[in-house]
């Protein structure tokens, strides 16, 4: 039974998983809790790309995959897609956000004020190597400001619209389950506005950055000015079966507005995502800003960037090339060898006499 000896597929894959997991050891509730509290920005990035807001599940996914981000996000997406949809929350408006950080590069000061909030932007990037020699690093305590900044602020684009610098965005009356949902419908082009914003919200940060950066460097038509970047918490307002509307809790969100001069008006690009992820929303808003009228097949065309920043799809396809392809390869070899033989036979034939 020559063939049977080679049939080790199931055992092999079982053992290969054990090897992978052996390196990480036991996954304890304490480990998951530690990941959750020590790495909020990693948790945020994972929740945004998974489009699932649950810090515990995100920490568990990171623990289970040893920090392999694409694997962690796939775990969460596969879990998310099986969950029942209990209700659809009310839309979140910009001026209802509980704002932690909100800055504008367009104006020195803005209505509501510049709020620096938590950031490493002006930190000197020096490793705290003392920790490795046994000294615990204790962050300095924060001195509260004498006047707290207002918790809720209008958007900068709203002020620009009032002043005729920007076309006022039209309100969309679609609510509840009528809102197009990228997780339940295929993405088709030209894409519905909801699909575009949802795709950017769950796009892979690195992918959005690469294409957004290309647009910022000059492969796009519009140079962005950050109108507003905001890190905030949004209330999840849902309806109780008895009819009361109430906030079921808050989720961290980031949003960016970028603008550029388009004729006598400003063009506006927008992106928002779950969790705090500044790079992603600035890059995504840049792509959104450049999408209108972008040439087919260019990196700022909607079809191009939405397809190629889908992290679960792109990473899965990339690693699928590890799978055996020997049937297709054999088929190509057959055509190549035959073409080569034909050419050799042709070369051997003497040129016909004139």
């Amino acid at each position: 039974m020559a063939y049977v000896a080679t049939r080790g597929g199931e055992r092999a894959i079982e053992q290969s998983q054990r090897l992978f997991r052996a390196e990480m050891g036991a996954i304890t509730p304490e480990r998951v809790a530690e990941i959750r509290s020590a790495m909020p920005y990693l948790i945020d990035r994972v929740m945004g790309e998974a489009s699932l807001y649950d810090e515990d599940l995100a920490a568990l996914a990171l623990a289970q995959t040893g920090g392999e981000l694409y694997e962690a996000i796939l775990l969460l997406r596969a879990w998310r897609t099986t969950q029942p949809r209990l209700t659809v929350a009310d839309p979140v408006t910009q001026d209802s956000l509980f704002t932690h950080r909100r800055i504008s590069a367009a104006f020195k000061d803005i209505p509501g004020g510049q709020v620096l909030g938590p950031t490493l932007d002006y930190a000197h990037r020096i490793l705290a190597t003392d920790v490795l020699s046994g000294q615990t690093y204790h962050p300095d305590p924060v001195d509260p400001a004498p006047q707290p900044s207002p918790a809720r602020q209008p958007s900068v684009a709203a002020w620009q619209a009032e002043n005729g610098l920007l076309a006022k965005s039209l309100p969309d009356a679609t609510t509840g389950n009528d809102i197009p949902d990228i997780t339940r419908e295929p993405l088709l082009f030209p894409a519905k506005r909801a699909h575009t914003l949802q795709s950017l919200a769950r796009a892979e940060t690195g992918g959005v950055l690469a294409l957004g950066y290309a647009a910022q460097r000059g492969y796009g038509q519009a140079h962005p000015t950050v109108n507003e970047l905001r890190l905030a918490e949004a209330d999840v307002v849902v309806q109780h079966p008895r009819g009361t509307r109430f906030s079921a809790g808050r989720v961290k969100v980031s949003q960016a507005e970028v603008v550029s001069k388009q004729g006598s008006e400003l063009g506006l690009g927008f992106a928002a995502t779950l969790g705090w992820n500044e790079v992603k929303v600035i890059a995504a808003a840049t792509l959104d800003l450049n999408a209108a009228g972008a040439p087919k097949g260019s990196a700022t065309e909607e079809e191009f960037f939405l397809y190629h920043t889908e992290g679960v799809e792109s990473s899965g396809f990339c690693i699928h090339f590890k799978l055996p392809h020997y049937v297709t390869f054999q088929s190509s070899l057959d055509a190549m060898r035959d073409a080569k033989a034909k050419r050799a036979a042709k070369d051997k034939q003497p040129e016909p006499a004139e």
């Binding site: 039974m1 020559a2 088709l188 799809e313 690693i319 699928h320 049937v327 297709t328 088929s331 035959d338």
Partner: protein, 304 residues
């Protein structure tokens, strides 16, 4: 009467993994795809617990069609024991309780990557092909929305031109696997990267074939008794791989699609690609009971 008597107990996972709404969408899209043979139907394509590009499209079809009485076979590159085939098979069995088999004759549902078994499929069998790229026009038009318009217009001129250029440059059509084929005289499809050897098996076949690309979110179908014609010029006949004369060095099976195994010293040996056919051939040679069904090819020639 209590609520409990009217409902089922909570379960962590739906039968067949996908929830009811996902299955309903896929059933509807499959019916549409059968009604318009070869036409790509967009579907939501939910995430499944496997990476995109690893058979998630085929898996969603299998998860939708599966029931506990269905016997499933899963192959990758013709082999049942290939690691990813083993993974998909164990997942399907785990979420459905359906029995599995390696014997093509015993299978009700066959999920396959890149091959159609050598034994002829029957009307009561369904073949699900995993598709990496559902768009036959991709090589001449990478933009999906333009390609969609070209299908609507049956605008396949650029595809013909590409084949013509290959003949001019290389003396023959250089397309290896996934040979572009016209379905029911209307829609051009890529038959997934099955070798050219397997494309005639789809033509006027008794069985239903569903082709599904999970990552690209498209599914399409070849219903039973439907024409599947490779694009060829009248004076340049379609040619399958030149494997008809090869013999499997392990089983002695002859006249089927083979895997080439390079040997030290620059030579090659061959093994039959349909691994279970090889196993059955060995069993029969050793006097054990095994049955090989009718095959599409006999002595390396397609049975007309």
């Amino acid at each position: 009467m209590s609520l409990k008597s009217l409902t089922r107990d909570w379960e962590p996972m739906s039968y067949g993994f996908l929830d009811g709404s996902a299955k309903r969408e896929i059933r509807r899209k499959m019916l549409k795809a059968i009604a318009v043979p070869g036409c790509q139907m967009p579907y939501a394509s939910r995430e499944v617990p496997m990476a995109r590009g690893w058979g998630t499209g085929g898996l969603q079809i299998s998860c939708t069609l599966i029931n506990p009485a269905m016997r499933i076979k899963v192959i990758d590159q013709g082999a049942d024991d290939s690691v990813n085939a083993a993974s998909i098979r164990s997942f399907l069995a785990r979420v459905s309780g359906a029995p599995t088999t390696m014997d093509t004759l015993q299978a009700d549902l066959i999920q396959s990557r890149h091959r159609i078994p050598e034994e002829m499929l029957r009307a009561d069998q369904i073949l699900v092909l995993q598709v990496p790229n559902p768009e036959p026009l991709r090589s001449v038009q990478p933009n999906m929305s333009i390609a969609r318009q070209m299908h609507a217009d049956a605008d396949y001129g650029r595809m013909w031109l590409q084949l013509y250029e290959q003949i001019v440059r290389s003396g023959r059509v250089m397309q290896g696997a996934s040979y572009p084929s016209l379905v029911n005289g209307r829609y051009l499809m890529t038959p997934s990267p099955i070798p050219r050897w397997d494309v005639p098996k789809l033509h006027m076949a008794q069985h239903l074939t569903i082709l599904s690309a999970g990552r690209e979110k498209r599914l399409y179908a070849v219903p039973p008794f439907t024409r599947v014609e490779p694009l060829v010029f009248d004076d340049v006949p379609y040619r399958v791989e030149d494997h008809g004369h090869l013999t499997c060095q392990r089983s002695g099976a002859k006249g089927y699609f083979m895997n080439e195994i390079p040997q030290a010293g620059g030579t090659s040996t061959f093994e039959v690609s349909d691994s279970e056919l090889g196993v059955k051939t060995i069993r029969m040679a050793e006097g054990e009971s095994a049955r090989i069904g009718q095959t599409w090819y006999k002595d390396g020639e397609l049975v007309q």
